[in-house]
Amino acid sequence: MRDMFRGFGAVFYKETLHVRRDFGTLFFSLIIPLLQMLLLGYGIDTNIRQINTVVFNADGRRESRELLDRLKNSDTFHLVRYVNTDHEMNEMIIAGKARVGIKIPVDYSDKLLHKMSAQVLVLIDGSDSSVAGQAINVTTSIGLDESLRRVLVNNETFAVDMRPKLLFNPDSRSPNFFLPGLTAILLLNVTTFLTAFSIVREKERGTLEQLFVTPVRPMGLLLGKLLPYLVIGFFELCMILTFMRFAFHVPIHGSVILLAFLSLPYIFVSLSLGILISSKANSQSEAMQLAFLTILPSIFFSGYIFPRETMPKIFYVISYFVPASYFINITRGVILRGAGITHLWIDALALFAMGTFLLVIAARRFQNKVIMA
């Protein structure tokens, strides 16, 4: 086992030449993530506003109109149409033209005047659970508020006054939450594909076989391939962060330098993953399929879309084996919560360990299973 990194310098030299020659491909592979970020950043808004609402106001007097105004002013409901029958209201909801139907009965104002309990029917389309949840929350709290105002006549104060305060993302802006996670996914995409392709291409050309007849050692070969792409991946990260900060105005609360530093182990894992894929795949299309196979779990199990804590147990366990889980924790930590190295070193360490593990496995595979022409 003498000089296990033999050939590293030569491969590194050659790989940088490849990158320079094929600048067009590189340019596109770096630009496309930015376009994806543009689309997703503007497209995804998890805050539910302006739900289409149909109203059947059978009462029509001042009290009922006041209630509707309050619903409208909540910004949650958008009153699209007023109807005059239950049937029309149902039809609107079934047809999907409205997600919420509000029926104010004919005796609403009378009951309020006689200090009796007045009922309002709120029909909610449950096919989208987050829309339904928001509609329930807002209507019940408006109802509660309305009741309290009528009960507390003499400027009495609320017995219990809850004052929730959102930390870190006070406006609940979706980009602030989504883009740090998206950074992890986009970075994974680019780096995994780039390394996997660069090795599989050599298999297709037969140059890898040629290299195995030289004294180059697998570790030297793999690290020589990996390092140029580590630089490219890092550059891509900087572009994504710049874009996120200045195009989407996502404030970075923590240290940018720390974030950049902690991204290195993550890029290292993604590159090693690409190399492992290339030890299995014999053609670029095969490599593409395998890469997609690794990207899907990163999207669904990493907490990028669904919070890891609410996942079924089995998926929660799986999420510990997904590198993106750790990096999303790092990006959200630094960008949103201003976390420091003391909070995040363990994530970085986990990533570094995963990367080393994958790389060693890949090197062993290249060592043992020599390619059959």
């Binding site: 030569a10 030299y13 050659k14 030449l17 037969g206 140059t207 290299l211 007849v213």
Partner: protein, 334 residues
């Protein structure tokens, strides 16, 4: 030819044969790709390794270069055991694969520089060796051209250049002339002879019989088994090639196709095949050549000339293959 008993370990002392293979076996699952193959290649030889596609030629190269582990047998290359010393073997050999594996997006100079660095040449030595290789292969005018823009012949020269930068004493060339034009083919062989004169050993696989004739030592592998091993001339004189009581003749005639049909009917002609404007036939040696001419002319064939002929290497391999198919014989060594 007995295999030299090379050391299994320790330093090569320069007296070992370039390659010594004894009882090589390679299995892929149930399939035996190489079955009990033994041969020795002396230093400075041009060793031609022939055989049909899929008969195990490339597998043998991969075993000797340490790309594939041996399932059985022993092999030493440049005095080093390939089982235990594959890495040092790789430092001492050059290898040019079937498809001249170069980087199409790197220039000639960059390809050379890369391989030089792979072999760990110092900057001074690399520069000197690059100059030598460029001059030897006539690559000077193409230094800045990309690999992809070279024609087949130049690709092959560049590949050869890359394989010999580190001054290996033994070069493996796997079908070096497949798909290149005749001029480039001849130039390559001229270069091989020149290098061989400097003591470099070549292990060359090929399909071309005329290339086999140029080798100083040939071996023929047929479906995993070695069936011939010797110099071209000694193989031609093998009794199996021209069986007792037979001789080879060349019949020159303007009507080869019709003549072949008729010749195959004539008693005393064992086999016949067309070579351009003539027929090569194996006939009983008591057959009088004048009788043969008469018999053919009786059937309306104009015969220009009939003369005795030495067997070609192709004849040798055809006969040995046939014999091998009939009864499992051992390697014909000469």
């Amino acid at each position: 030819m007995s295999a030299n008993n090379s050391k299994t370990n320790g330093e090569p002392d320069g007296t070992d044969p370039a390659i010594s293979a004894r009882g090589l076996v390679r299995k892929f699952g149930n399939f035996t790709a190489v079955n009990d193959v033994s041969f020795t290649v002396a230093r400075g030889e041009i060793f031609g390794f022939l055989g049909p596609n899929g008969s195990g030629k490339t597998t043998v190269i991969k075993m000797l270069t340490g790309l594939l582990p041996l399932s059985g047998g022993e092999a030493s290359v440049e005095g080093l055991n390939v089982r235990t010393d594959a890495e040092r073997v790789r430092e001492r050999i050059g290898y040019m694969s079937q498809n001249f594996s170069l980087y199409p997006d790197l220039s000639v100079k960059e390809n050379l520089t890369f391989y030089g660095r792979v072999y760990g040449l110092s900057p001074d030595r690399l520069k000197k060796r690059m100059d030598d290789v460029i001059q030897m292969n006539g690559l000077e005018p193409y230094l800045d051209r990309l690999g992809a823009q070279l024609s087949g012949g130049w690709k092959q020269r560049l590949a050869l250049g890359c394989a010999m930068l580190h001054e290996p004493k033994l070069l493996f060339l796997d079908e070096p002339t497949a798909g290149i034009d005749p001029v480039a083919r001849r130039q390559l062989w001229d270069l091989l002879f020149e290098l061989s004169g400097h003591g470099i050993t070549f292990f060359v696989t090929t399909h071309y019989m005329d290339e086999a004739e140029r080798c100083s030592h040939v071996a023929y592998i047929y479906y995993a088994k070695l069936i011939a091993d010797g110099t071209p001339n000694s193989l031609r004189e093998l009794p199996d090639v021209t069986p007792q009581g037979t001789m080879r003749v060349e019949i020159t005639t303007p009507e080869v196709t019709r003549a072949l049909k008729i010749a195959r009917q004539i008693q005393g002609i064992r086999s016949a095949t067309i070579f351009g404007q003539s027929i090569h036939a194996l006939i009983d040696d008591h057959f009088n050549l004048e009788d043969l001419r008469e018999q053919l002319q009786k059937q309306g064939i104009t015969v220009a000339e009939i003369r005795p002929l030495a067997p070609s290497l192709e004849d040798v391999f055809v006969e040995l293959t046939r014999k091998n198919q009939n009864n499992q014989s051992e390697v014909a060594r000469a």
